[in-house]
Amino acid sequence: MIDLRPLIPHCLIVGLGILVVLLDALRVRRNACCLGFVTALGAVAAIALDWMGPDARLWAGQIVADPYSRAFDTIFLAVLAVVALASASDEPHIAFAGEYYALLCFATVGLMFTASAGSLLILYVGIELSTICLMALVGFAKRDRRSSEAAVKFFVLGSVGSALMLYGCSIVFGLAGGTEYGKVLGVLSGVGGFPIVLWLGFACVMAGLGFKIAAVPFHMWAPDVYQGAPTTITAFMSTASKVGGFAALLRFLLVALGAAPDRWAPVIVALSAASIVLGNLLAVAQTNLKRMLAYSGITQAGYLLVAVAGASAADSGLAVGAVVMYGMLYGFMNVGAFLVAQVIEDHTGSGEITALKGLHKRQPLLALAMLLFLFSLGGIPPLAGFVGKLYLFAAGWEGGRFALVGLGAVASVVALYYYLMVALQVYIKDPDDDTRIPVSRQVSLAVAVCVVATLAIGVYPRPLVRLGDRAATALHAYAAPRPQSALPSAQKP
């Protein structure tokens, strides 16, 4: 009998998605904004349930529930809760509010499976589940032409990315006789090299994951889709979805290809350097806030890849911990920045950076929050972004990627320029009109959560560091080379 308790939180979130659709269909008082609150509460409950469940490897290691997957689940569910809360104020105005939250829930479940995936098949299904839900959500504002245009672009590029990844899966399957990471590892240690066919499979899988994390050269979709999609969805995509890609990437590289780190490390270094340089250069030129944040997100993916490159060294613990930690704090600060962008866009109807002009006179608290998020993204102490980046670069340094860390450090200084340009609009420029910008209670609460998290993690990062350590230990235990007979897949007749 298989112990299915580790999957209770996944089932809870699926049930939550169905529940909100039903509540919406039953026309539970729309004005109460209850669907958003229900979703947020359910997400928080799922975090608690997740940590109470036992560690397990289900179906010959295809799905792995361990502190590593739980740490990432926590990130996705926290982002889901904040985004659902922030969407609640729009609830009375949007059609199909129930479906909106349901799709968000299902996308989150897909990401949770991505973090737990112990085989390429589950990885593919998890990534597709989240991507397909997000395709629908990107085009959710049907009357907005930009929204449907973004959906078409996301659909075409996303489908190509996932088809490439699937072809990679089929190659690996043919080579290893299964897509479980244990079997791939078995092939690697069996032949004692890196067969050319495996390179092909690896390249295809990397293309799929590169699309998910929006790393150069798989970043083309990000600016257009981020700009066109409803802003709450952009917030979710730029954080939860990106971090989900990293959760899968780390487990795939360290477990399945753990025996040949010197082979994949150069690829990661190249992706990282390209993302940092190109993301930064293009971000400087942007006039639209969401596009600027999209390019800054590409740069941030590059920073995360610095730590992944560092993970190729013998002791990968620091790198895994750093990615978990940065994933969490990046989630809060980036969602916060997008929520402020949404308030401004809703009120002024413009997504340009100049629309933020004189925000400190029109809405002082919101201006202060935006300043915090921007400084945190730029990595100014004592905010969360600084601590997180410190750990990422430390992990890269530990792994011997000195040049890459140097590039990242220089890029961080350049990045300050475009973050400060936005801050300049907010604080120095005078507004065109002095009318106060109204902020709904729900959005205020969501922004407040992000502000508190950004400050708290920066001042007292210890709990998050410990969470990262636990995740790293779990992944390390899973990835430790074992004799062929002890592989979970070998138990099958």
Binding site: Y124, S148, V152, L164, F173, G174, D224
Partner: protein, 102 residues
């Protein structure tokens, strides 16, 4: 005449995948792009089933069933998006869908 082996199937699947990938790159009509994507997915399916047969393992076919389910979901979403873009602009040519700067 040699019998048809797994290699032939895998060669065919590689050709189909390449046709699909090139089609996505050069076609301008989303519905045709869409068909090319389906071709890529089914090329992967063919490879999976052929290799499963070759290895004497059932999991290749099992994975192909997963992929069909995923592809069906993608079709539903993709057609929905195309319909919505047609309603808002009366055209679905991908080159005319350019409100967002590239």
């Amino acid at each position: 005449m040699d019998p048809i082996t797994a290699t032939h199937y895998i060669g065919l699947s590689a050709i189909l995948f390449a046709i699909g990938a090139v089609g996505v790159g050069i076609k301008r009509n989303p519905i045709v792009i869409f068909m090319c994507i389906e071709l890529m997915l089914n090329a992967a399916n063919l490879a999976l089933v052929a290799m499963g047969k070759h290895l004497g393992s059932i999991s290749g076919q099992m994975m192909a069933i997963f992929v069909m389910a995923v592809a069906a979901a993608e079709v539903a979403i993709g057609l929905g998006i195309i319909v919505s873009i047609f309603r808002s602009r009366e055209t679905i040519d991908i080159d005319e869908v350019n409100l967002l700067k590239l």
